[in-house]
């Protein structure tokens, strides 16, 4: 059973109640759509909800030429049954007992698995400092923006810097351009912690640039986990 809600102009949240095990933050579900003649297409979507949440929230960005993502933006109706498999993934995951300091770096819809980590951190009342760097085109493209700002206002250990690549910054401390190596190092210096775990998720070019920037900032490769989204939807 499914429910869909807009998250940004290009991204929807898809809420599912599925008889699957509790996810670990960072894991994904495989979604399988089947046509009347038996033809099936499947894609992996990251889970953004907290491991403790009632419903699983998937984050699905629309690819205009995609085969599966337009279905979730245009066709699916509340209550439709969707076949899923998972939760899957055993590397790009964070549990409260993994601790930190925890650095999360997201581009666009790549925030999904990192949002699950932010929520898992919140729900566990984790004592570890957490810095989230989130990049998107514009202010309205920052998925989960209001929830993140609200969390920042009440959780002193949570730091959140947004970068809007095609619009000026709206808040003090945000960036009106992409996170380049200089901005990344400045953010880490200002945060004041050395990340024990760093997770980077987004399109490949973004992940490559951010992972390289983290290496240049002195973060060991063994502490950096990446998840790279292909362009297929």
């Amino acid at each position: 059973m499914v429910r869909v809600a807009p998250l940004t102009p290009r991204i929807v949240s898809v809420f599912l109640k599925a008889p699957v095990g509790a996810p670990i933050a960072g894991q994904h579900l495989v979604v399988r759509l089947t046509a009347p003649d038996g033809y099936a297409a499947q894609r992996s979507y990251s889970i953004a909800s907290s491991p403790a949440a009632d419903a699983i929230e998937l984050v699905i960005e629309k690819f205009e030429d995609g085969e599966v993502s337009p279905f979730f933006h245009e066709v699916v109706q509340p209550g439709d049954a969707i076949e899923v498999r998972g939760p899957l993934g055993g590397h790009f995951v964070w549990r409260a007992e993994d601790g930190g300091p925890l650095l999360l770096v997201a581009g666009g819809s790549g925030v999904a698995p990192l949002m699950a980590m932010v929520r898992a951190w919140r729900d566990a009342a984790s004592p570890t400092p957490l810095l989230l760097l989130l990049s998107a085109r514009g202010w309205d493209d920052l998925a989960f923006r209001d929830e993140l700002i609200a969390l920042q206002a009440r959780a002193p250990l949570f730091s959140f810097i947004a970068a809007t690549t095609r619009e000026p910054a709206r808040r003090s401390g945000d960036l009106g351009h992409r996170f380049d190596s200089t901005a990344l190092q400045a953010a880490l210096r200002h945060w004041g912690y050395a990340p024990q775990h760093a997770y980077v998720c987004g399109a490949n070019r973004f992940v490559e640039a951010m992972a390289t920037g983290l290496l240049e900032a002195g973060v060991a490769a063994s502490r950096i986990r990446t998840e790279r989204y292909g362009g297929a939807g």
Binding site: A41, F71, D80
Partner: protein
């Protein structure tokens, strides 16, 4: 069970026979890896063939480039459901590596070992008889770092996570020892035509 309202986009008839079940064709060459792209220096690069802890043979870059070359053309399939058609790879076949080392495959299984501490297990039968190589060139060019350069394993008839990037060695093992993804829920063999994606697939 059909999904209400889903019709899907089928491959053209010409492609349908080349596309394993659950895959779609892409012109892109997506990049997936567990961490940052390692920068591997050719001046210190070495490839080592071993049997358990015992090295059988080892080559530096210059020596490796002087080994007999093999070209393979065909389609590759990633477990994340993309397939890429008509790729061209050049490198040294595992058969030629073993011949250069003067040995036959010493056991029934192997672990491919990478510079970023990644590893993946492959049955020896999937590496022999021209079925696999250590590839150093893609579509006529030196293999780019983000695609595993300077050298990666190429086992094109299995899902592409078996084709370990940034390869530094091949270790033959007595038993089928699970590698990085195989320890994290992925299939021990990974045949795309049988959809051997996850550990509970037959």
């Amino acid at each position: 069970m059909a999904t209400r309202g889903f019709t899907g986009r089928r491959p053209t008839a010409a492609f349908a026979t080349r596309l394993p079940p659950g895959q779609f064709e892409t012109d892109d060459f997506p990049v997936l890896s567990k961490g940052p792209t390692p920068r591997v220096d050719l001046a210190t690069w070495r490839f080592t063939l071993s049997h358990g802890p015992k090295p059988l043979a080892s080559w530096n870059w210059e020596e490796f480039e002087a080994l007999p070359r093999t070209v393979w053309q065909g389609d590759i399939h990633c477990v994340t459901t993309w397939s890429k058609f008509d790729t061209t790879w050049e490198g040294v076949s595992i058969d030629d590596l073993l011949a250069a080392a003067g040995v036959a495959a010493p056991s029934g299984y192997a672990l491919a070992l990478s510079h970023d501490d990644y590893d993946t297990n492959v049955p020896a039968a999937d590496l022999l008889d021209g079925r696999a190589m250590v590839a150093t060139r893609f579509n006529g060019e030196p293999l780019a770092a983000e695609h595993g350069g300077p050298a990666r394993l190429l086992v094109p008839h299995l899902y592409f996570w078996k084709s370990a990037k940034w390869l530094k060695g091949l270790k033959f093992t007595a038993r089928d020892e699970a590698g990085f993804w195989e320890l994290r829920g992925y299939h021990m063999r990974g045949d795309p035509w049988k959809q051997q994606r996850y550990s509970d697939d037959p």
